[in-house]
Amino acid sequence: MKISRKQFLKLTGASLLTLSGGKLWSALAYAGQAVAHPVQLIRGKQLAMLIDTRKCAEHPDCTGCIEACAKAHNIPSFKNPAHEVKWIWTEPFENVFPTEETRFMPAGLKEKPVMVLCNHCDNPPCVRVCPTGATWKREDDGIVMMDWHRCIGCRYCMAACPYGSRSFNWVDPRTALGDLNPVFPTRTKGVVEKCTFCPERLAKGQLPACVEACSAGALLFGDLNDPASAIRTQLETQRTIRRRPELGTGPNVYYVI
């Protein structure tokens, strides 16, 4: 049969489209199921942390929590600050709470090191912007979780986070790691990572690595939705502040200054 080149190409294209149409249909159907609420309704716990900066400041050279986290999660240590990957670290008070700064402050407060990490917000902007759902707020415990299998490395979440909590793997992290901890995977280049409140430890009934490692007892971890929890009691008996509450993110890391 006589068929022109154009007709042949059109026929081939139409056939391929029909064959892939089925796959596309099922993919869309799956996508329909996967679309969840932009802001997860918290039905279960809301895990949170209270950081007592006074107890922390009594041990100025202590890096216990940072090292415990790094060891538990194979966090690489890059010499180049541009490629730094950090889940929990210290920042001077003036950077963490820029609105608390006044002209005259108690001596040493301005530079006082304060622990910072992901705030696991009630209304996280990073979750709102993630195009693939690689980060989401878990319903059961309020943790803002990471799925490193799904992240495409667009770094939109890093632009959205008002706290600078997230890090990106600019290169293969194994180039900056010593012996690996076989209990937890490393990540690979091209994905974003951050503190996840140690769900792998919580599943075994353990506290997050940093909380367990803190010898000063400066880190308190618990469920805000449980009225009898230690963290609730602390929050209801002493004044605490959070980072940038005016943005409406609802951060769940509280600080005693």
């Binding site: 993919a27 195009p131 600019w170």
Partner: protein, 400 residues
């Protein structure tokens, strides 16, 4: 079907141009393979400045892509016949620009092999999802329109009636692609530089200034190289559009400066100070910011004064200044400036590395190659068919 046979016949000059572009693309491909293997650490990006050259160029080129509407709208909705010879050129430019946008996003991804996750695991709450939808849809629309129009001229007939609603759809769609791109930035609570309602209007104004300015330059270039003349009236009318758009753009910028500096709120002021003056020991953006403002002012003056706008020599200068100033403003200052200072107050500078620049140049070269090939096909088709695009698709009023 694509009439590419018209694009493989050309003068020595044509082939030198094509070879140069292909050479740039080859170098870019080599550097991209290195980036793919090593990671995005090969760029100048850092933990604090996570978007730079690639996303900045994407943001600027979305504007160029959207600007085709400035020629399409008067011709199809208001029967402005003078644009008849120009619409196809605008549409070809739009398709090429959208392609470069998509490519810039892909080269910026940390895990490009997972790019389809954005479709498989669709998240409508994410503005990036809608950006993909709008860019993809705009690409399909413009590709269809361009191909159908070229076909019609080649056959010497009017295009089929069903293309009219497609063209009309592309008009609001063009507005939407750039609005959605602005929404990527203007909805982030932690970035006060971008958290402004005027960002989307600013984007549109700068798009409708820079895109048509490029179109004017391309039309003049074609006239010189090929003899295809879109007409003095068309060039003048587009120049007027560029003038209005540039005026609005500068006005919006002044509005931003007023709100930031009259309110004296530090989080609003510091980004502009970084861009134009350089504060806190970091002045990597200052050359770009300052030259952008100088060029914008010069361009606006040349455009507003009728004598310099109508004189083709000064118009060329004005268009080049328009394009480059807005490229520096949107492609560099806007995106990078939003990251300095970081949420924790760090003033981390950003300088693109050589691999990054080469990859960026390669994507631009792909766009230039597409424009070249499209224009070659379009103009050869017109000449061969003995027609010109002025008697192309019937406008809405004619059909009724």
């Amino acid at each position: 079907m694509f009439m590419l046979e018209k694009a493989v016949v050309g003068s020595r000059r044509y082939w030198i141009w094509i070879s140069t572009l292909v050479g740039i693309i080859a170098v870019a491909f080599f550097f991209y393979l290195r980036q793919f293997n090593y990671g995005l650490g090969i760029t100048g990006l850092s933990r604090n400045v996570t978007w730079g050259l690639y996303i900045g160029q994407f943001t600027f080129l979305v504007g160029v892509a959207a600007s085709a509407v400035m020629v399409v709208l008067p011709y199809y909705l208001h029967n402005h016949k003078e644009f008849g010879r120009m619409t196809i050129l605008g549409e070809c430019l739009a398709v090429s620009a959208v392609t470069t946008c998509i490519l810039f996003i892909l080269v910026d991804l940390g895990q490009p092999m997972r790019a389809l996750n954005i479709i498989i695991y669709a998240r409508p709450n994410s503005m990036m999802f809608w950006d993909m939808v709008s860019l993809g849809g705009y690409w399909v629309l413009n590709a269809t329109i361009t191909l159908v129009s070229l076909h019609a001229v080649q056959k010497g007939v009017a295009p089929p009636a069903w293309i009219k609603p497609v063209i009309l759809l592309s008009i609001p769609w063009a507005i939407s692609i750039h609005t959605v791109t602005a929404f990527l930035y203007s909805g982030l609570p932690g970035r006060p530089f971008w958290l402004t309602a005027i960002l989307a209007p600013r984007f549109l104004a700068s798009a409708f200034a820079s895109g048509p300015a490029l179109l004017i330059l391309l039309c003049m270039l074609i006239r010189r190289l090929d003899g295809y003349d879109v007409g003095r009236k068309a060039i003048n009318d587009v120049a007027i559009i560029v003038t209005y758009a540039m005026t609005v753009n500068v006005f919006f910028l002044l509005m931003e400066l007023f709100t930031s500096f009259y309110s004296q709120i530090p989080t609003l002021m510091e980004h502009f100070e970084n861009m134009y003056v350089g504060v806190g020991g970091n002045s990597s953006l200052v050359p770009w910011g300052q030259s952008s403002v100088v060029m914008m002012t010069a361009a606006l003056l040349l455009l507003l004064i009728p004598q310099t706008r109508r004189n083709e020599r000064t118009l060329v200068v004005a268009c080049i200044l328009t394009f480059v100033s807005l490229w520096a403003d949107k492609g560099i200052c806007l995106v990078v400036g939003g990251f300095i200072p970081s949420p924790l107050g760090a003033m981390t500078g950003y300088v693109p590395t050589l691999p990054e620049l080469c990859i960026g140049a390669g994507v631009w070269a792909i766009g230039a190659l597409m424009v070249t090939v499209f224009y070659k096909v379009a103009l050869s088709t017109a000449v061969a068919a003995g027609a010109d695009f002025a008697h192309g698709p019937a406008t809405v009023k004619e059909a009724a």
